[in-house]
Symmetry: C2
Subunit: 459 residues, 2 copies
């Protein structure tokens, strides 16, 4: 692959091309436990650099795997076929914050939390909040259509993307959308690239819609002796016309893991906890909404509901939810976090079935997630070094996906397909959908240069 | 075309095929002043009927123009190349209202207002409210990504589409999406069909997201001596964190037209009026929001702000806005209603420039629309029988589009491209976008059977 590296250096300058073994290993991972080294890493600084890289890749028939900070959880940014990893991290400028139109223009490599901090200084707010937001980039968030707890009220990343700049597989630069809130001129190409995981084009720039920063927030933590009651309560709250910013569920196993790690005084004898948060510009309304939600929790089986009275109390309540992932590390060397979604009404049944799978295989499965969205993160705890456990994990994943599909749900709400979910995609979507998606991929990337082998299974 | 009619009768039954001259003329119109008769009309009752029609059309290489109630305003449902008009109006059943998950499953031919009335009986709410909603169908709304006044707070039709059933050009039946709120498995095919105006597939069924019906609504009408002040106020309201359900603007000409027709006591000496409506489940919050909006109007130049105190007063306030279109009919035999969108901040400049165009050509242009969205409906009033006026209208339309594009806007916020905006689409989107859209069209409809000559200009 010396030719590749030499050609890339010539095309965009040696200082933007990495090829030492150490560098290649550094760019071989994502947020999972898989890895595969690329043949070269490029760190473009402009669209022109990316166009030049695409042309080299095209001529040499070498894959390009675009990535942000590679915090993905589905193997989407791992260069399993080698080739070029194209990291957008040097393109990390906020180009414009248009306060009047409440729109920000950013390069793809901006870290999401950095963007959020900048716009909040001006009283504006970018709601999508994947838990990776201090690491992950806007470009990666868009490529995976990232979610987060606040998406219940505010919607996912795609709901904020008003336009994109995308380098296509033939080196053309496509600009979609614009600063208009409504736009029905031609096909919705913006949405086609959102969630396409780098397989249709390389997103280099985005126009993102902002909202006014909520002036106040109220948070409640409800303890439910019965998981069924907790799940039902989610729907009662939403049916009452309350639209919480977040409505999160943690099961007994999650609560016990957190308490063992953090000693927050969480109850060890409840089947579930709900975290409800309301926000808005009208303090009295926000307070009334959280009180209504708390009352509904009590009326539907909550043993205790704590409403935070200030920011310090709120931070304590969130500490529990935020500690789930790190707490699990104490229980087992590895965890595999899934991301199924089901219709909201099916949450209790989904959790019951997943717990039965856990019992059947004798491996703990911790369940938490965005209950208001029907988006659950079952995390299997295991030891990868134990081949028997690893084999069980793979069977568990298949059965968990089957639960989601049987209940009218699907394989992923936030993480995407990557490579991890490829074996299940035809079952989830049906052969016609896979056919149509292949037609779209073929139309936009006829030589399969862009992140090949991701999203769609090879024919 | 006797073969065509005979083949269609054989394929789906004679009672579902129309071919008399009277019937063909009835299906030759849309909501504009253009018309062209098809060679046959089919009234399918099932997906299987539609698959059979697609196969006949494919074999005979005859175009299919799908339509709902053909209330479109861009020529999208007019069969300019003849062929088959496929009307979805017999497929008009509401198949399921899933209250727990707040999702309705409908056939494409359901009239939007009928759907809204049914779900509201259960305390649910389908927000998108194109002004055609008593006539237009959900399928047509989806194919055009219809908007309406309430879209400021609630979003457009596409924001409510969770899944579709689509008959493709090769006769395959594609099912997209599902009852899960989040779904990132594969490309977003649902969004690709939303707004595709029948050119990529025939939408036969949809899963639509519902919300809880707002328990209360408050409406205010503000009179602004200065149009600039009115436009600026739109942004001040939104920046304050108030999210009105609607925020509508009517210019002086619109107000005068309505007053002449309806005698509602509207002021004839103000440059603009704003209608602001807030809604929600928390009455005190809704009241406080409308009062805050009214205060902002007063602080920013409104001469008078009336807040409706009951439903009767609210109806009176809305009567003005709802009367715009019918009132215009008294002023001139024809009107051509455009649908440009601009970034919100550009509304005052857009209106100034459009008024200059009106003065230049000596034809009245009435301006009203969804100011909160930056979506304006400039309506040119004219007499189609006067060829000189008609020629002026065509030049006016070109110049109005140029205003939108020069200000960072686009050609359509709600009506779509159809055929009327074809000459301007490349200028609006750029050649790369048109190329990519052609690739998508070619991938999904390689023989260009589906609504050919719409959305994309012929090569």
């Amino acid at each position: 692959m010396k030719d590749l590296v030499a050609e890339l250096r010539e095309a965009i300058g040696a200082e933007k091309v990495l090829s030492s073994p150490v560098d290649l290993i550094a760019y071989s991972f994502d947020g999972t436990f898989e890895q595969h080294a690329p043949d070269a890493v490029v760190l473009p600084e402009t669209d022109e650099d990316i166009v030049a890289v695409v042309k080299v890749a095209s001529r040499l028939e070498v894959p390009i795997v675009p990535r942000g900070m590679s915090s993905g959880l589905a193997g989407g940014a791992i260069p399993f076929s080698g080739g070029i990893v194209l990291s957008l991290t040097r393109m990390n400028r906020i180009l414009e914050i248009d306060g009047e139109n409440m729109i920000v223009t950013v390069q793809a490599g901006v870290v999401t939390a950095d963007l959020q901090a900048e716009v909040e200084k001006l009283g504006l707010f970018y709601p999508p909040d994947p838990s990776s937001n201090k690491q992950s980039t806007i470009g990666g968030n868009i490529a995976c259509n990232a979610g987060g707890p606040r998406c219940l009220k505010y919607g996912v990343t795609g709901d904020y993307v008003m336009g994109l700049t995308v380098v296509l597989s033939d080196g053309q630069v496509l600009v979609t959308g614009g600063k208009t809130i409504k736009n029905v001129v031609g096909y919705d190409l913006t949405s086609l690239f959102v969630g396409s995981e780098g397989t249709l084009g390389i997103i280099t720039q985005a126009l993102l819609r902002l909202v006014a920063k909520p002036k106040c927030v109220r948070t409640a933590l409800a303890e439910f002796p019965s998981l069924d009651d907790a799940s039902r309560t989610v729907n009662v709250i939403l049916s009452a016309g309350i639209v919480p910013a977040t409505l999160e569920l943690m099961d007994e196993t999650a609560t016990v893991c957190i308490e063992e790690a953090m000693h927050l005084g969480l109850p060890l004898d409840v089947e579930a906890m709900l975290i409800v948060e309301t926000d808005g510009s009208d303090e009295e309304g926000v307070v009334r909404e959280i009180e209504a939600a708390a009352r509904i929790c009590r009326e539907n089986g909550a043993r205790e509901v704590k409403v935070a009275r200030d920011e310090a109390e709120r931070t304590t309540l969130w500490k529990a939810r935020r500690s789930v992932s790190p707490s699990l590390a104490r229980k087992a060397p590895n965890k595999l976090g899934e991301d199924i979604t089901v219709p909201r009404s099916a949450i209790p049944e989904a959790i019951r079935r997943i717990k039965a799978i856990s019992a059947k295989y004798g491996l703990p499965i911790v369940i938490f997630g965005h209950a208001g969205d029907g988006n659950l993160h079952p995390n299997v705890l295991f030891d990868r070094r134990d081949s028997e456990q690893w084999e069980k994990v793979q069977r568990i994943v298949g059965e968990v996906f089957q639960v989601a599909l049987d209940l009218g749900g699907t394989l992923s709400g936030e993480h995407g397909v990557g490579t991890f979910k490829l074996p299940y995609i035809e079952q989830a979507l049906g052969p016609t959908s896979v056919d149509v998606q292949r037609c779209v991929k073929q139309a936009l990337d006829p030589h399969s240069i862009l992140n090949p082998g991701k999203v769609l299974p090879a024919i």
